[in-house]
Symmetry: C2
Subunit: 104 residues, 2 copies
DNA sequence: CAAACATATAACTATGTAGTAATATGTTTG
DNA sequence: CAAACATATTACTACATAGTTATATGTTTG
């Protein structure tokens, strides 16, 4: 695999490799939500939430739609959902090791 | 989704969220390789390679087998391969955005 | 058994990025 | 149109972790 491919792939995984972003993603899985709703449900601060949303948006993992002064965010497609589902499959097998893993 | 679940999931994704580790994983996809072979093919330093292998091993994403003074590493199962394949699917759709993404 | 080899570990540095506090931008409403 | 509201941005700090150099551990072989 080419270095460029690997670099892109690493960037993609980094999008998912953060508790706050995963929390946000799980919150908007299925139904679009406004920033305020996401803030309420995740208990993340508003600026922090906005920053993570911007991050996910720029990578194309989510999309948004402005309605008046509110902005609705949703997961951008089934490929992204597929990633999260595949992660669950890995966790089903390896949650113990990952739980005990001290590297990060 | 519970905080614990999210924490585990983030740890899992962090395992994949690094160029060097992805490079190593792509190198041993299919056939087991020794550390030396991995070092040769990836051009990573030997200590760096060992550290990443230890990291992937502890998380259960790869496994190893010692044969004399050599240690062979291989991807631990089809769930892990599935993650990498699913990542390719996402990249097929979003490589442009991810390429242009400046967050990391 | 000493030397060469294969891998792992330790200590350290540098960098990337998550979080916060403060503020800016844009939108609705009374 | 001023005040309240919803979201985004900026500047900053703190921490996690990738990489390097040096060294340790364990294994084969002459």
């Amino acid at each position: 695999m080419s270095r460029n491919q690997v670099e892109l792939e690493a960037k993609l995984f980094k999008g998912f490799a953060d508790q706050s972003r995963l929390l946000i993603l799980s919150t908007i899985l299925g139904q679009p939500k406004t920033v305020s709703e996401i803030v309420d449900e995740t208990k993340l601060s508003q600026p922090n939430t906005s920053a993570h949303l911007a991050c996910l948006l720029e990578c194309g993992l989510i999309r948004n739609e402005k309605k008046g002064r509110e902005v609705f965010y949703e997961v951008s497609g089934k490929e992204v959902v597929g990633m999260l589902q595949q992660a669950q499959k890995v966790l089903k097998k390896h949650s113990k090791e990952i739980y005990e893993c001290t590297n990060y």
